[in-house]
Structures are given as C-alpha cells and as structure tokens.
Amino acid sequence: MVTGDSRAEITQRLRDIARDLLERGEVDVFIGYEEGSLPLRTTPAFITRPDDVSRLTWGALCENNLATYLPKFEGRVGVVVKGCDVRALVNLIVEKQIARDQVKIVGVPCQGVIDRRKLAGAVGEGPPVRSVEETDGFIIVRGSGFEKTIPVQEMLSPACATCVHPVPVLYDLLAGDEARSRGACPREDAFAEVERFAGRNVEDRFAYFAREIERCIECYACRQACPLCYCPECFVDRQSPKWVGRWRDLSDKMVFHLGRVLHTAGRCADCGACRRACPAGIDLRLLSKQMEKDALEFFGHEPGTDLEAAPVLATYRREDPDDFIL
C-alpha cells in the first residue's frame, strides 16, 4: 500500500540516481517531474546539471508519460517511467525511434496517479483549490473556506485500475521497492470495462462515441501527448489525399479518432496520456482498450512488454486468425 515516506524515499532515490547519471556523464539530460505551477500539477523537468536534481519530485500527481519526448531523441537520456510509461518506451525501442543504449530507464514501482477530473468532481463546484498536500495515502485540498481530505486510491486514473504491470517491465535502475507498488490488476479483470461496453447494442455504442467525439476541438493534444504518435506527418494533416474535411463534421472528427486508435492498435498499453491531455474530456481510452484486448486475444500480444516481439500488426504468422476475411 502507498505510504507517505515511500513517496519521499522515491523522490530522494530519483535525485540520487539523476545526480549519479549526470555526474558520471552517462546521460546528457535526465527527464523527470518537478512541482508544477498549479496546485494539482507536476510538470516535466529536463535536468542537465547535477546541481538541479533537487528539483525532481515524485508523487501521485506525476501523470505525464515522459516517453513522449524520446522519439528521435538526440544524445543520451535518463527518463523516469511508471509501469505503463515504459511499455510505450519499449515500443519506441522496438520501432527504432530510440536506441536501447541511448536511454537509461529509471523505473518507479507505480502506486497509481491521480485523475484530476475525478478529483475536481470530488471537490465539487465552488471556490478553486488553491493548495494541495499529499500525505500517507491521502490528498488534502484547500481553498478559501474549505479543506477536504480524500483517499488517493479513490481518485486514481481509470487506467490505473486496470493496470497489469505497475512495476515497469524493463528498467536499468529502479527507484523504490517493487513490493510497495500498487497491486496489479488480474489480467482477466483488465478488460471488464470494454467487455461491459461491448455488450451494449450498436446504436448505443455509436451514440456514446458520437457524443464524446462531437466535443473534439482538433487541438491534437491526444496525438501530441502520445509517445507512439511520432509520425512526421499525421494522416489528418495530409492534403493529398485529404482524409479530414474542413467542415469538421462529426464524420471528420471520427476519421481522426478512429485512425488514431487503429494506428496505435497493438502498440498502445493504456498509459492514459491521451485522455489526460484532452481539454474536452473525451473518453479516448475505451476504443484503445478494445484494441489492446484484441491484440492479446487474437495474437497473444501484450503491447510493450517484450523488446524481442515484433510489432504485431507489422508481422504475419500462418496461425494468425483470418476469419474476418470473407
């Protein structure tokens, strides 16, 4: 279970590791988290000098997937990863976006990250949260005239609830004790949500996605936050052939979102970066989660867990299921 001192311990451990890597010249940059400018935020920190490692922090608000900065990274880099983050990084290595020996992977046995939207809901409308304190398993939020103590476990991101690998599957250094990570979700439960959704009738499901995607403002924060969306030119930006019309009807927005999901199918490990980045609060996980399930069921492939496994949709095996072909 999470304890407050493990948070402080991990922070200290990350600073020590970063200092060591930078001092020994093993990395040019160390990417971790530091305190953000808003009560509920941390922010990515690019540390290049050993003296700056004291900026590094760790906690349940360290939400960003820092692997998104790694495609085509020049130089040697140390990076802090949670269990989900590293699976994107494994993909990047497999897909030759970064060399394995270029990156020092600093894993953190993950205790889950807070979902800010959920927390906002728990705090309720009214005056804004002006300060936040993380203690042993609780988060205390304060604003003018109110204070609330909320258990961190109740505020976790939905992706954390279905996380099968809270301890990074690949790391060079581990900042913390594996035993202290959040318990893994049993694999058979990981897809409960998508199975429930798949049980609804097709009109319902379409209506759900229509309602969600209608809100899209085409800012492409989901794409930009995703470590796997590194194409130099995204298909939606292509003018010839043109995939997305200028009227930006629901169908145009759908093309983007479906394209995004299909393009990350068999690669996405549900870190939740897309959903967190979306300013419109669109449920961007559900379809991706279905793809993750399909990859596992059809091909026995669990994205981002094996440096030797070729990308599942870029390989062919005779035994691959083909009953969808007429």
Binding site: S37, L38, T43, F46, R215, Y220, A221, A225, G245, P279
Partner: protein, 353 residues
C-alpha cells in the same frame, strides 16, 4: 463598441437574475456558458438554461472554451460557389448588422477584453472582416465581474482586472444580495429597456460592490512582470533561453485554441456536388503545417521556433503592430496545458534575462 452609456449605476436583486435573462431572451438570442459533456462553452441558451440562471447563487461558471468563437467560430463558410463560376458570400454571413440581435450573457471581464484585441485584427483600418464585424456589431456583451479568480488567472498583470470594463456593454457586479448593474454603452442601456426590476444604486450597494472588486483583485494570485518581459523580448529572439523554455512543449494546439485572443486561421476549399465552399478554420502556430511551404521548406521547422512564435506574437509582434499585448490573463492556456507549461513562468523567466 458604440457610444458610452450614461454611466449611472443601477442595482437588481440577485433573485431577479433569472427574470433579467428571460427579459433578454424575449428580444434577443441569448448565448451563455453552457455545459456540454463537462465542457463549458458559449452556446445558445435554451429555456431551461435561462430558467436556471435565477437559481444560481453566483454567476455562471467561467467557460472553458473562449468567447471568441461566438464571433470567430472554429469553422465557418466564407463563400459559396457553383460549378458555373458564381461566387457568393455564404448565407448568414453577409453585411454587418445594424441592430443588436444577440446577447453574450455571463461573460467574464477577461473574455470581454479579448474582443477589444480581436477588433484590432478583424475590424482594422485597412481591412474589415465582414463576418466578424457583423457578429460583433450584432451582439451585446453582458459581463459578470469576477469575485473568485481562478488559480491560473493573471488578468491584473496585462491591464485587465476582475471588474475590467473593456469590451463589455453591461456589467454586473455582486454587491451583497444584489447585483450592481453598470451600463457601459448605449447598447448596454438598451438591454435594460423595459426591465423594471432595476433601481438606482444606493451608497450601501456601491460600497459593497467596491469591496467585492477590491477583494477579487487581491485574489488574483500572481503578479506577472509582463512589462519587463515585453521589454526583454525585443532583444530575445536569438537568446538561448528558448532552448530551455520550449523543451516540454508537446506541440498541440490547446493553448492557442482555448486562447480568447489567438486568431490565426486557415482558408481552404471543399468541393461539393453543386460547386463548393470556401471555409475558414482556426489554425495554430504550434502546428508544423502552419508555415510549411509547398517546396518542403519550413521557416519554423521545430517546436522551438513555433513555441517562440507564440510567445513573440503575443508579447512582442502584436505589441509592435498594435500597441497592446495579445493576452488577457484568463489562464486557460495555463490550466489546460497537458504538461503545465505555464506562460506566467515563461514571462517571468524572460523578464529575468
């Protein structure tokens, strides 16, 4: 816009806010902050929404999406053409309207102020954008002074404030159990015509409103050295600081699309069976395609140049061209940035160069 109102302050009881909204809805199309799927934006207020305003203790919540889309929508058809070569201004976007037909209700002072910046672009001496100008002239702005600025707000650092009047036609300020009602233009006064539940403000209400204004100013948490940053930016284009500042930027358009003053756009055609339409879309300097030449050359090839462009445009180029910073301190870019790249910190860093 238009001539100033008489400036005589009035009051209405808070419980009459709903009645006022209904009064407006009887004569105008009312656009108000409406929640859709957890996102608040200015949209046409239905009967239920308008009825709801009366029940609220406080003012409508600040909208996540900026007011600008009421005047400069994310997508709009500029022209329609047919196969025979006939070109027409798109229906519904013709000549400027002489009379007010819409009311933006529940606006915050930062958003109202943003209109005065957009006016510099779209209602300029050299060219008038008839689409924007038409909507602007046909829309009155009813603003609520802020009492509880958010944690990302910094309006007071860019010339605004929780009860800044720029861009508003009518302003409502909380004063105890009442709203102080300040007509700021003839249009604002027009909105009150026929509404009986207002009376002249007394000293007590005026004092209460003044107190509320002062309290709100005190709650704008951060004093950002914008003037110092503007000064430093004049010589900062080639500074190494951009290398550090841009690094965590993801290159998405959250900051620019949610910004009430960002106004960059793209124009292109869509072919239809009958001919086609020329469509204007919001565009963002954060996207590589924004400046990509057909030859493949890109003058702003990486996120660094694009990030610098955004900051320079708002705090240097716009100032050079228009004499004002293109920022109202609403904090939307701060709150919604996926990586908490805070423009206030950027300005602080630049001011300290």
């Amino acid at each position: 816009m238009g001539e100033r109102g008489s400036g005589k302050a009035l009051v209405m009881a808070k419980r009459d806010l709903g009645a006022f909204a209904r009064h407006l809805a009887a004569s105008y199309l009312v656009l108000a902050p409406i929640v859709e799927g957890g996102v608040t934006r200015f949209a046409v207020a239905g009967v239920d929404d308008i009825g709801g305003f009366g029940d609220r203790e406080s003012v409508p919540a600040p909208s996540k999406r900026p007011l600008k889309e009421v005047f400069f929508p994310q997508e709009e058809v500029l022209l329609a053409f047919d196969a025979g070569g006939k070109v027409e201004v798109a229906a519904g976007a013709a000549a400027p309207a002489d009379e007010v037909t819409r009311v933006a209700f529940g606006v915050r002072p930062c958003d109202a102020r943003s209109l005065t910046l957009l006016d510099l672009v779209f209602d300029a001496a050299d060219y008038k954008d008839p689409y924007y100008v038409g909507r602007r002239q046909g829309t009155a702005v009813v603003t609520f002074a802020c009492t509880e600025p958010g944690v990302a707000c910094f309006c007071t650092s860019v010339g605004g404030g929780p009860s800044d009047e720029a861009g508003s036609d009518l302003m409502l300020v909380e004063a105890g159990e009442s709203y102080l009602v300040k007509p700021l233009s003839a249009r604002g006064e027009g909105l009150l015509r026929g509404f009986d539940a207002v009376r002249e403000a007394g000293d007590v209400e005026l004092a209460a409103a003044r107190d509320a204004e002062a309290r709100a100013v005190g709650r704008v948490a951060r004093d950002v050295p914008v003037d110092a940053a503007v000064e430093k930016l004049a010589g900062a284009f080639g500074d190494a600081v951009w290398e550090d500042l841009y690094r965590k930027c993801l290159g998405c358009a959250v900051c620019t699309y949610l910004c009430p003053t960002c106004h960059c756009f793209d124009i292109g055609d869509e072919a239809t069976r009958a001919g086609g339409e020329r469509v204007r879309n919001w565009d963002s300097c954060m996207f590589p395609l924004f400046t990509l030449h057909a030859s493949g050359h890109n003058p702003r090839p990486s996120r660094k140049e694009r990030f610098r462009q955004r900051i320079m445009h708002k705090f240097n180029y716009f100032v050079e061209n228009n004499g004002r910073v293109a920022c109202v301190g609403c904090g939307r870019c701060v709150e919604n940035c996926p990586v908490n790249l805070d423009v206030r910190r950027v300005l602080e860093t630049i001011a300290a160069l």
